[in-house]
């Protein structure tokens, strides 16, 4: 089960036009900034290919980038869920860092024990606890709250695909308003999920955790920077990363990154960090995209009527206003 780590050699294809970074519309292989950014995401591949995730699975991107950011001096813990299942089918593993899974609700509590043991041994190793949204905001909530409050030196990363995917797309506390899932199906008298998403990053921030951030897999540099800061934090840190799930969201597998970008550009998901109490939005879309553009990419929202979409638009506008004031 031991694996060599490997370096990926980045070869920038000449036909890619760099628009995201400087909007200069030059060929990517001539763009210095683009090359530099590409280099930033081309570190050690500590999450190996060959696992059994669905095509376009956002969770794989979330883990791959996080491990690149943290480096190989890392121990990972994992909650039960898609990530654990698709990456560790005995006797194979996709993990090139030491990894442990115990149960669904125990990523943070197992990580607490790992961290305590490392402290006792005098070893300086990053501890990253991974959990899906269900393993984080629902069943693992208590264990996570305890771990954050106790001040363990660990980074908790919630990869949020907004439902219990591993068991067949059931609703979680992180499922957004109006989303149709197998336990909150849209029907003639139901809009689907009736409650807005639980605001987990704010709840963790209320624990007085030194570093809390939100991220999206469509913003790899922003995400990796945040993971680096989280890992460097002396004490608990929390990163909540939106990670598309084509299977559960009913979206095209090749559009996962695009959809996670639309989530941010529409204000459905806001990128921010709270660094030692200092809150700031790390990316504000220059041109806000109407939320319908995001919603229409996914079957889980396709039952929504125009007035429902307007309700959602109002909700996110209001939230963004609140965040802009508070953050």
């Amino acid at each position: 089960m031991m694996q060599e780590t490997m370096q990926v050699v980045v070869d920038t294809p000449s036909y890619i036009k760099c628009r995201q970074v400087c909007k200069a519309n030059v060929r990517a292989n001539r763009c210095f900034k683009f090359k530099k950014n590409l280099e930033a995401v081309s570190g050690d591949e500590l999450f190996a290919p060959g696992h059994s995730a669905c095509a376009g699975c956002g969770a794989t991107v979330a883990v791959r980038l996080a491990l690149k950011a943290a480096g190989k001096n890392t121990i990972a813990t994992n909650a039960t869920g898609c990530l654990e299942v698709f990456s560790t089918k005995y006797p194979e593993t996709a993990w090139r860092v030491p990894w442990i899974h115990a149960a669904f609700e125990t990523s943070a509590s197992v990580a607490s024990g790992v961290e305590a043991a490392l402290k006792k041994l005098g070893k300086d190793v990053n501890v990253i606890a991974f959990g899906g949204d269900g393993g984080t905001v629902d069943i693992g909530f208590q264990a996570l709250s305890g771990a954050m409050e106790r001040g363990h030196n660990m980074t908790y990363i919630c990869y949020d695909n907004e439902a219990y995917m591993n068991t067949g797309v059931q609703r979680s506390g992180s499922t957004p308003y109006g989303s149709s899932t197998t336990t909150s199906p849209a029907g003639s008298v139901s809009i689907g999920n009736k409650r807005p998403k639980k605001d987990m990053p704010q709840i963790i921030a209320a624990h007085g955790v030194d570093y809390v951030a939100t991220a999206s897999i469509a913003f790899p540099l922003d995400y990796m920077k945040k993971v680096k800061k989280a890992v460097a934090t002396n004490g608990p840190a929390y990163v909540h990363v939106l990670a598309a799930c084509p299977t559960g969201w009913g979206s095209a597998s090749e559009r996962s990154i695009e959809i996670c970008r639309l989530a941010v550009d529409s204000g459905m998901w806001v990128l921010y960090e709270i660094d030692h109490g200092d809150a700031r939005i790390t990316y504000l879309p220059t041109k806000k995209v109407p939320v319908i553009e995001y919603l229409k990419t996914q079957k889980r929202f396709r039952h929504l009527k125009a007035e429902d979409v307007q309700d959602i638009q109002d909700m996110i506008d209001e939230r963004l206003k609140r965040y802009s004031n508070e953050i």
């Binding site: 089960m1 031991m2 694996q3 190989k72 001096n73 890392t74 121990i75 813990t77 994992n78 654990e84 299942v85 560790t88 089918k89 005995y90 006797p91 593993t93 993990w95 090139r96 860092v97 030491p98 990894w99 442990i100 899974h101 115990a102 149960a103 609700e105 125990t106 509590s109 197992v110 990580a111 607490s112 024990g113 790992v114 961290e115 305590a116 043991a117 490392l118 402290k119 006792k120 041994l121 190793v125 208590q142 264990a143 709250s145 305890g146 771990a147 409050e149 106790r150």
Partner: protein, 388 residues
């Protein structure tokens, strides 16, 4: 030099944990275990024990943190009781399935509802299938010694299973007894430094707790059972060597007057003290012996069969019941062990002491009298003692 002292059972456990240089403790308070975790906190606060103490928010997290710490390569300890053990249930199977040599003290207590803080053994009996070694103690001295032995047994490379040291709540935890605390050098000789078989190490990354399909899962379960069988020898070996260092040993089980006895009582935990006492009182009048089960998991079935096969009546006295089966767990298992003998003793079950109901000498005398009657007459198989 060993040190004489007069200690509560809880303190005896804490002293043992200190002597074993445990590295990480993760625990959550519950009556009647509280003094164990408080005493350990005191040791850590005073620098008498150099351990990381994780003050978790639940027993579920206590066991999870022990799993994480043990997998990182250090010696771990936790203690609980009753509702706390029940809350850990999910993690108990995971700790043993991952083959982590965690040691836990369980202060035996009744399970809710109705909520009741007093002693019986329903809590640990309900966890008999979780893959943990279970060692039941009669006295505070035995509890102290067993806790130290448990590390040696669990960490044995042929075993690598967690151990639960069961001590009766209040009867032992809150009762003082004179005992001897072994010398630190003796414990050091007996218990080598913890050397994990595998552990989480960035220089040699391992995946622990992977998911297994039907093709492999059964193999893991079989290996666990094999390890449990190995534990029988490991327990005896540890006990022998412990005896060399301290003069005290307990074995897998204890026979008291069992040779040629017509009636043999089988029981475990602190109640065997009372039973021995009554047996002594009835000497000459009744030919009765006692088999004290210390290792309930692994259960030394062949040895038990040898001891019991020539008795006329075997009476199992226990503080638990399987509702719906209408008998105690130990009783069912003893019956099962004897079933394939060509000629087998009659087996009676006595459910006693639930929720802390006193177990008196007259109770034991009644049990013996009824057992005597069963030699000739037909009597009910199972009896509840102390109903009113």
């Amino acid at each position: 030099m060993p040190r004489g002292d007069v200690l509560h059972g809880s303190r005896a456990v804490a002293e043992a944990v200190k002597l074993c240089d445990v590295d990480v403790i993760a625990a959550y308070p519950i009556t009647p275990q509280t003094h164990i975790v408080e005493d350990l906190a005191e040791f850590v606060a005073n620098g008498e024990l150099d351990a990381e103490y994780v003050l978790v928010e639940s027993e579920h997290s206590a066991m999870s943190a022990c799993i994480g710490a043990s997998a990182t390569g250090v010696r771990t300890f936790t203690a609980t009781s009753s509702q706390g053990l029940a809350l850990m249930h999910e993690m108990l199977f995971i700790a043993s399935g991952m083959r982590l040599p965690i040691v836990m003290a369980n202060a035996n207590r009744a399970l809710s509802a109705p909520i009741n803080i007093w002693n019986d053994q329903q809590d640990s009996m309900s966890e008999r299938d979780c893959g943990w070694i279970q060692l039941y103690c009669e006295t505070n001295q035995e509890t102290l010694d067993t806790t130290i032995q448990a590390y040696r047994i669990s960490e044995n490379k042929k075993v690598l299973l967690p151990s639960m040291v069961c001590l009766d709540g209040f009867v032992l935890t809150h009762t003082i007894e004179p005992l001897e605390i072994p010398d630190k050098d003796a414990v050091n000789r007996f218990l080598p430094e913890f050397e994990p078989a595998v552990y989480l190490d960035p220089d040699d990354p391992m995946t622990l707790g992977a998911f297994a399909t039907p093709a492999d899962y059964i193999k893991f379960r079989f290996e666990q059972e094999k390890a449990m069988r190995n534990a029988i020898e490991a327990i005896e070996k540890a006990d022998r060597e412990y005896k060399k260092e301290t003069g005290r040993g307990y074995g897998l089980m204890e026979e008291y007057n069992t040779k040629d006895a017509d009636i043999i009582i089988v029981s475990m935990g602190s109640v065997v003290g009372t039973i021995k006492e009554v047996i002594d009182q009835l000497k000459g009048e009744y030919n009765v012996g006692l088999l004290k089960i210390k290792a309930f998991r692994p259960l030394p079935k062949e040895r038990i069969k040898e001891v019991l096969k020539n008795a006329r009546v075997v009476s199992v006295v226990e503080k638990d019941v399987s509702i719906g089966l209408g008998e105690g767990g130990l009783f069912s298992e003893i019956k099962g062990i004897l079933y394939n003998l060509d000629e087998r003793p009659k087996v009676l079950g006595f459910i006693i002491g639930l929720g802390g109901r006193d177990i008196t000498q007259p109770d034991i005398r009644d049990i013996i009298k009824l057992s005597k009657k069963a030699e000739k007459d037909v009597v009910d198989e199972v009896h509840w003692i102390g109903l009113r």
